[in-house]
Every structure is written in C-alpha cells, then in structure tokens.
C-alpha cells in the first residue's frame, strides 16, 4: 500500500519495477525450466550477465541519490561497492574450508602461500553469513560516515570534494594491492565454492542470486524514492541548488549530507556483495578510480536526478560494453566514448530526460 504512494507520479519507476519483477520470475524460469537449445531457454551465462548488470543498476542508483539529488559528485563510490564485495568475498573464502589447493582447513590459500600461521583478527566472524552481511553494511557505512564527517563539516564541496573521493578510492586501491593487508593482494579473493551451502556453480544458485539482485535493486530503488519523495528529499535538492540558503533556514546541511551519503554507500556495498558471488572474484582493481568515474558516466547517460534513469544508464552502457568488447575488441572504447558523446550532445538530460521530452512533445501534438 505504502509502495503505491511511493510510486505516485512515477510511471517510469513503476514500469521499471514491473519489468524487474517479470525478469525475476521469467529469467530463472526460462533458465531452469527449458532445456538447452529450446527456443525459450536463457543461458546461465546470460542470466549471470544480467544479474551483474542489476548490481550495477543498484550501484548507479546509489550514485544518483547523492549526485542527482544532493549535488555531491562522488567519484569514489566504487570503493563502497568494492568493500561490500570484499566482505562477501571473505565469507565465500571461509566457506571453501579445506577444499583449497593447499587443503588447509584453517587458512585461505593465499595466507598459506604467504606462510601465515594464524587467521588475522579481522577475518574472524566471516565464517558466519549474518556477520558477513552485517559487515557488507557496516564497513561501507563506517567509511562513508568518517569521510563525510570530515568533508562535510569543513564544507568541502564541488570539484574539491570529487577529487578527495577519488583520492579515497585510490588510497584503498593501493592498500588492497599489498599482500600484508591480508585481503589476497593483487589476486584478490577467488575460487569460491559455495554460498550458504549451495554450490556457486549450479544453475539453481545462480538463479537465486539473480532473483536476489533484482529484489535488492527494487528495494533499493523504493528506499531512495522514499527519501527523495519526502521533505528531506526536497531539502536535498535545495542543498544541491542553493546550499547556503538552506543553512539560513535552520537545517544542518552537513548532517543531512552525512545521512544521505552514508545510506548511499550502504546501497553501493550491498550491490558489491551481490556482484561478487556472480562474477566469482573480487580484486583490488574494483577500487580503481576509473571504475568510479564509469559509474558517473552510467548515471549521466541515463539522466541524473531520476533514479530510474541511473538504472537504465547502467544497463545500456554495460550492455553496450559487453557487446562492443565481444564484437570489436580493439575499438570498444571508442564505441563507449562515442555513446557518451552522442548522449551528451543529443540527450543532455540523459536517456530519461530524452524520454520525458519525447513524451511531452507527443502530448503537445495530441
């Protein structure tokens, strides 16, 4: 009932949620229910690929929440995504048990390789799924909170803020590359076997992860809608447009930014946690500054400040990327660049802005 009110006046959002629900039912059904070669069969490869896109969609929503509504151009959200991913990866590592190459029941392979004797303290607890889930939420939240506490209180805004978000993810990239950190160095975490007792290689598990990703995206979208549709959401857009004025109305701008930024980091972390079991690996390149910039491109292509646009952007750009890397391995970057340029020239407000523009025009004609 309350989700009906949330979606009031949000037709594209409703369409998106219906499509998501349909995908969550039909894709696993077509994958599991029809044999390979059947007309309606969807390959496991495709299902996992789309599942990965859905995680990117959630990530894009989290960036759009802070960029499109609050005016914070975060170029570091890849870090929150990666931290969520690592938290899940650590759980998956512990699930390997003694099935690793070295067969060590206590330590993951890379620790055996480094001649470590004991499990580092921060790996304790990751044997438990609920603990890992807690960390998926708490670690990105803690980083975002600490970062925001200093940045927003000292009123760093605009380009300077964007630059320090880049610095943050870059610093983490360097840190996670180091073997001594205890996160597998440049190889990261991989060779996962199962999740909650279900083998990761099986189609059923992959279908489950697909459904989980679609659900997370839908819920994340609704939560963001709840925020942007509330009075707090209107204060956020006011901050985006006229930050000093909002202070003179009596709002503590830094606290509002801190709340929304931290929430957004949690969404990014959850996206990362769902992404890792589907791709089967997490390594430090996920912290690469370029990744964070790419997320912003998805949102820009989709149209910022609409949330559903971010999802559309993430899907379109990543589909184009997958297609182009396969079809033109040498030229795909040019294709991606061209897509970005075309969108900025012909659809300055992104795909979503273009669609509402078209819609309005059609109404005028009628």
């Amino acid at each position: 009932m309350s989700s009906v009110r949330l979606l009031y006046n949000d037709k594209p959002g409703m369409v998106m949620l219906v499509l998501l629900a349909a995908a969550a039912v039909l894709v696993p059904l077509c994958n599991l229910g029809f044999p390979d070669g059947h007309l309606l069969h969807i390959s496991t490869f495709t299902m996992t690929l789309v599942g990965k896109y859905l995680c990117y969609g959630l990530l894009a929503v989290s960036v759009d929440l802070v960029w499109g509504y609050l005016g914070i151009l975060s170029l570091g959200h890849g870090a929150f995504f990666a931290l969520g991913g690592y938290a899940m990866g650590m759980y998956l590592m512990r699930q390997i048990g003694d099935r690793g190459v070295y067969g060590n029941p206590l330590l993951p392979d890379f620790m055996v390789f480094l001649n470590w004797q004991d499990l580092p303290w921060f790996w304790h607890g990751f044997d438990y799924f609920f603990f890992a889930l807690l960390m998926v939420i708490l670690v990105p939240a803690a980083l975002a909170f600490a970062f925001g506490w200093f940045a927003f209180r000292s009123r760093v805004t605009g380009v300077y803020l964007s630059i320090i978000t880049q610095a943050m993810t870059y610093a983490l990239l360097l840190a996670f590359f180091r073997n001594e950190m205890g996160f597998g160095g440049n190889n990261g975490l991989t060779d996962f076997k199962d999740i909650l007792g279900f083998p990761l290689q099986s189609d059923v598990t992959k279908a489950g992860l697909f459904v989980a990703s679609a659900t997370a995206l839908a819920l994340g979208y609704l939560c963001c809608r709840f925020i942007t549709g509330s009075k707090l959401g209107r204060v956020c857009t006011a901050i985006r447009d006229q930050e000093p004025r909002v202070r003179f109305l009596g709002y503590r701008v830094e606290n509002i930014k801190l709340f929304v930024f931290t929430f957004s980091a949690v969404l990014a972390g959850i996206a990362g946690a769902l992404y890792v079991p589907q791709v089967g690996i997490i390594n430090p390149t996920e912290f690469s500054p370029l990744n964070s910039i790419e997320i912003v491109i998805w949102v820009a292509v989709g149209g910022r400040g609409t949330l559903y646009g971010a999802v559309a952007g993430a899907l379109v750009v990543n589909y184009a990327k997958s297609y182009l890397t396969a079809a033109f391995p040498d030229a795909w970057l040019f294709g991606l660049g061209a897509l970005f340029i075309l969108v900025t020239i012909f659809l300055p407000r992104g795909i979503s802005g273009g669609m509402t523009g078209l819609f309005r025009k059609r109404q005028e004609i009628n």
């Binding site: 925020i227 509330s230 009075k231 707090l232 209107r234 204060v235 857009t237 006011a238 447009d241 006229q242 000093p244 004025r245 909002v246 202070r247 003179f248 109305l249 009596g250 709002y251 503590r252 701008v253 606290n255 509002i256 709340f259």
Partner: protein, 276 residues
C-alpha cells in the same frame, strides 16, 4: 608533557565534554526590551575595514530602517548577525542571553533570526508551495525531516502566507518562473514561515515597480510589532514611506540615527549621502 596536559580532562571523571552537552540553546530573553545588540563590531577584508566600530541596538517589536550608500557595510552587517561572517572584534547578542558569535548559521536561524538576501535567493526548481514548506518552522533534524508530513494547520498557514505575499493563485509554479518582485515576496514569505522574532531584510524594493513597492511597504509595516524588523535600503523614497527610526550607515559605522525628518536635516548626512 604538553600532550599529557591536554589529556588531563580525560582523567577527570566528572568532566562533561563540550560535545556531550545537550544542545539546548538558551531561550530568547527580552526582559530589557532590546532584541539585538551590536557593540564595537569591526571586520575587515584584506585590510579594508568594511565595518568599523559599529554600535547598533534594535528594540523588541521595532521596525528599523538602515540606509547608506553602496559599500557602506549594510550587507556585511547582516552577514555578521546571521553567522555568515565572523567579526574581528566586538560582540553581538540576540536578547540578553544568546551570544550570536558562538552560533553558526542554522543555530542562529533556529534561535529566531530570519534573513532575506539582497539578491533574491529562492529555490528555483521547487514550487512556490515547496519553498514555503521548506522554510516552515519545526524540527529540522534529519530523521524528523524525513518523516515530516504537513499537518492541516501548517497547510493553512502556508495558504495564508501565499495570499499575504500575493502568490495565492500560483502555489505550484516553480519559483524560477516568478518575476523579480515576486521572488522578493516569496523570500519574505519564507521568512514568515520560519516565525522568526527578528527579520533582517536586505533591499526589498530593488527591481520593483512602484506598485510592487507599495505592496512591499504594506507587508513590512504589517510585520512590525509582532516581529522586530530591520530593513536595509538605499532607495530613499521607499524609506520615506515606511518612515520610522532611521539609521544611517557610512563607511562601516553609524553616522546618524533618528526620525526621517531629523536625518534629512542632519548636516553630516546631507554632506555624505543626501547632499549629492
């Protein structure tokens, strides 16, 4: 050794740290009938003294006009009162109990000082109604704002204010589509939503037609009494129609103070301002 000294409060068990103290600002005390004290305020920008030993007292319920040529420091004075600019020296008190120099912008706003800027600053992408809603007095912390729903009396108050500022027929227009004068009124309306005790109004008549100016005068004179109002203007005609106590500001300090008639006959004022 020095670092041990700084740690000392940690060992002191009944020390209550500054950040743990409940965040209750002292309430406004108007027992002496004065709502704003500015004393010996000076501020300079890169060596240029924009405000120079300024002394100003505003009575509770008063409508005070402040005039002065461009660059006299009128806007800077408002910046100091509202916490945007920190003075180099001097003191600023809101009533008997609230030290403005210890508070920041949102705290000062919540304490009861509202401000209209020289350049109208409304939220252009928000509707007229939403602009008023955002300004509405109430709990402005994060979670209460997230959960806030307009109560019917708040909705009524928004409706009344819309009529008062002459925008009753376009509550759902984006504020960006309003004329310059209408934006000025909307900003005054936002001030009213805050239910402040003291209103600071910077050049309300700028860019207004004669008719609009008359309406503005009416609006401001209606406000005085229930609120204390400080109006900054450099349009003499406008000040004349309000005609209350006038303070003349020149080169960052008070040149003269008195009724409009006194000011117009003051030799110093004629020399520096009216004389030209």
């Amino acid at each position: 050794m020095a670092s041990l000294q700084t740690l000392h409060p940690l060992f002191n068990r009944d020390e209550v740290f500054e950040f743990l103290k409940p965040d209750i600002p002292p309430s406004l005390d108007l027992s002496r009938g004065i709502i704003l004290y500015l004393e010996d305020i000076s501020v300079s920008f890169d060596g240029f003294k924009a405000i120079n030993d300024l002394n100003l007292y505003i009575k509770d319920g008063e409508l005070r006009c402040i005039i002065g040529p461009n660059g006299a420091g009128k806007t800077t004075m408002m910046d100091i009162i509202t916490g945007k600019t920190r003075p180099d020296k001097g003191s600023a008190w809101f009533g008997q109990s609230i030290n403005l120099l210890k508070l920041d912008e949102p705290e000062i706003a919540l304490a009861g000082i509202g401000r209209k800027f020289q350049k109208p600053t409304v939220f252009e992408n928000h509707t007229v109604h939403d602009n008023l809603e955002l300004a509405l007095a109430g709990n402005k912390k994060v979670l209460p704002t997230l959960k806030a729903r307009l109560r019917s009396e708040q909705q009524d108050y928004i409706g009344e204010t819309l009529l008062l500022i002459g925008l009753g027929d376009r509550p759902y227009s984006p504020a960006g589509s309003l004329s310059h004068g209408q934006k000025q009124w909307l900003e005054i309306g936002m001030l009213l939503m805050q239910r402040p005790k003291l209103l600071l109004i910077d050049e309300p008549a700028a860019g207004m037609t004669h008719q609009e100016m008359e309406r503005t005068t009416e609006l401001l004179t209606n406000l005085a009494g229930e609120h204390s109002v400080v109006v900054v203007e450099h349009d003499m005609d406008f000040i004349r129609t309000i005609a209350r106590t006038v303070t003349v500001l020149h080169q960052g300090s008070v040149l003269a103070e008195g009724s409009m008639a006194e000011i117009q006959n003051n030799q110093k004022v004629i020399e520096v301002y009216l004389g030209g």
